[in-house]
């Protein structure tokens, strides 16, 4: 599903953010990216949806070389990749339902599809009751659920999560992880960057550890360490 071959990313030539990284992630896997701040986790994730291009090396997603992808095709790649972030990135002037619908509207999905899929996904994330609330009327955990709903409403093959629990208290974080686990069980590949030792140690999934831009460990059923 995802393959990196000898990927190096330099924002500036003196200190590369990712150095000669290679990894292969199968369909349906759940992978944690761990490592100190600045070790290159976010860079790793941004290379997977073509937010960044590697300085050298190859990136394959769903069998396609995405480095050479022409820019008009990038949106079609991204329709297969959901993204969630530490800061939720909801649109503050739209309701919960409108935030989720937005993701379908802007890729030209017809209204009857939107009307059917938005309530279904809000039900999945447990926010049916609050679909008409504004984001600032929700707790952090609820806001993250909305952003997961938005990322998943189009049923992407891959879900990229950059520290999704970074702003949440431990109990709320557990709820979010249950949701991501459920999504993973539908066959969606999940790649999640995190600093949360407790989550990594209890979930026992594959762990890729980065240190100063290098992959120093790639272990299935691993711990945070």
């Amino acid at each position: 599903m995802i393959r990196l071959e000898n990927v190096t990313k330099e924002y500036n030539p003196t200190s590369p953010a990712l150095i000669d990284a290679s990894a292969e992630i199968e369909k349906g896997e759940f992978v944690f990216l761990v490592g100190a701040s600045g070790s290159g986790k976010s860079t790793f994730i941004r290379l997977l949806n073509r937010e960044e291009k590697p300085t050298s090396g190859k990136v394959y997603v769903a069998g396609k070389d995405i480095v050479g992808l022409s820019s008009w095709k990038v949106p079609f790649l991204r329709r297969n990749i959901g993204c969630i972030f530490q800061d939720f990135r909801l649109l503050p002037k739209r309701t919960v339902a409108e935030n989720v619908a937005f993701a379908l509207e802007v890729i030209g999905r017809p209204k009857h599809v939107i009307d059917q899929q938005v309530p279904a996904i809000l039900d999945l994330v447990g926010l049916s009751e609050k679909s008409h609330r504004m984001p600032d009327e929700l707790s952090g955990g609820e806001q993250q659920r909305v952003s997961i709903a938005r990322a998943f409403v189009n049923r992407p093959l891959i879900l990229l999560a950059d520290e999704p629990t970074g702003n949440l208290d431990p109990d709320t974080a557990v709820g979010i992880m249950r949701l991501l686990d459920r999504i993973n069980r539908t066959g969606t590949t999940v790649v999640m960057a995190t600093h949360d030792r407790g989550i990594v140690d209890t979930m026992r999934r594959r762990v890729i550890e980065l240190k100063d831009g290098e992959i120093v460990r790639d272990q299935s059923g691993g711990q945070y360490r």
Partner: protein, 300 residues
């Protein structure tokens, strides 16, 4: 498809509404610049029409009475032929029918006026190109025709008309250049308006990119917004142009008691052409502004 269009239009509407003050400024600059451009063209056409009969070295016109007899016309013609190669370089006869056709073309649309005229009421005329363009010589030569039977009047292309012609041309040129400068300003204002619209929506744009909205889907609302500013500006310029045509140019020619500038008018088809040109230029300028804005400020 309909859902898409509705979404894009709603986005455009919201963009404009959030940015209404700047959008209005942008529309007004476009309107003023196109008004100046259009007026310069109206004046140029008016001058051209008014001075048409003075072109090619023609220095005076002998107008016959509408009821002049053929023998009287023949007499003048014989006189002119006699002097050809001497005082007169060349001359041209304009028949009743030709005058009538010119008249109809000039006053097209003015039904009231056209109802009162017919071929019969039109004066035939001789347009005369003297060998010596010196004002005194021309006046003396023209004067010899004034007393001939059947002649109504002799009209000279005096210094005055030449002066009016060059002045009007200068005014038209100045308006044209100011108009062009303002058109450049208009493109810049549209560019700025769009850059502000884009930066005020950067969160939406970021999400759109993230969830895979196509590049055109992201660009189109901003391009429509920019285009609308140019097109509405141009449409707003049209009533100003109609005003300029009616009250400035035509009052000018009516107050001209010497009737030197008779025919200082702009025909309906010329006005239509100038209006369409203004709309086309407004659209083109807005297109340039919009394309620059989305390619500079929208990183898609």
């Amino acid at each position: 498809m309909i859902g898409k269009a509705r979404f894009l239009l709603a986005e455009t509407g919201q963009n404009i509404w959030r940015n209404i003050a700047l959008t209005l400024a942008s529309i007004l600059v476009a309107a003023v610049s196109l008004t100046l451009f259009g007026t310069s063209q109206l004046v140029a056409r008016g001058v051209e029409n008014a001075t048409q009969r003075w072109e090619g070295g023609i220095e005076f016109v002998v107008f016959m009475k509408a009821d002049a007899e053929q023998s009287q016309l023949d007499a003048i013609e014989a006189l002119l032929e006699e002097s050809r190669g001497e005082e007169i370089n060349d001359w041209d006869f304009v028949s009743k029918e030709e005058t009538f056709n010119e008249f109809i073309e000039f006053f097209a649309g003015d039904e009231e006026l056209l109802d009162t005229i017919s071929v019969e009421t039109m004066p035939p005329s001789f347009r005369i190109q003297p060998t010596d363009p010196d004002a005194g010589a021309v006046a003396a030569l023209g004067g010899t025709f004034e007393s001939k039977p059947g002649v109504r009047t002799v009209v000279f292309a005096t210094e005055v008309i030449r002066e009016i012609q060059t002045n009007a041309e200068k005014i038209s040129q100045v308006m044209l250049w100011v108009g062009v400068l303002l058109l450049v300003a208009s493109a810049i204002v549209i560019l700025t308006t769009l850059s502000i619209a884009i930066s005020s929506r950067r969160n939406e744009i970021e999400i759109m990119k993230l969830v895979g909205a196509s590049n055109w889907f992201i660009r189109i609302p901003f391009m429509i917004e920019g285009l609308l500013q140019g097109v509405i500006g141009a449409l707003l310029a049209l009533p100003f142009l109609a005003f300029a045509r009616q009250y400035v140019i035509e009052d000018f020619s009516e107050s001209d008691r010497l009737r030197l500038l008779e025919g200082f008018r702009v025909t309906d088809s010329e006005f239509l052409f100038i209006s369409l040109t203004a709309i086309a230029i407004g659209t083109a300028v807005a297109t340039v502004g919009s394309i620059l804005a989305v390619s500079r400020y929208l990183d898609v």
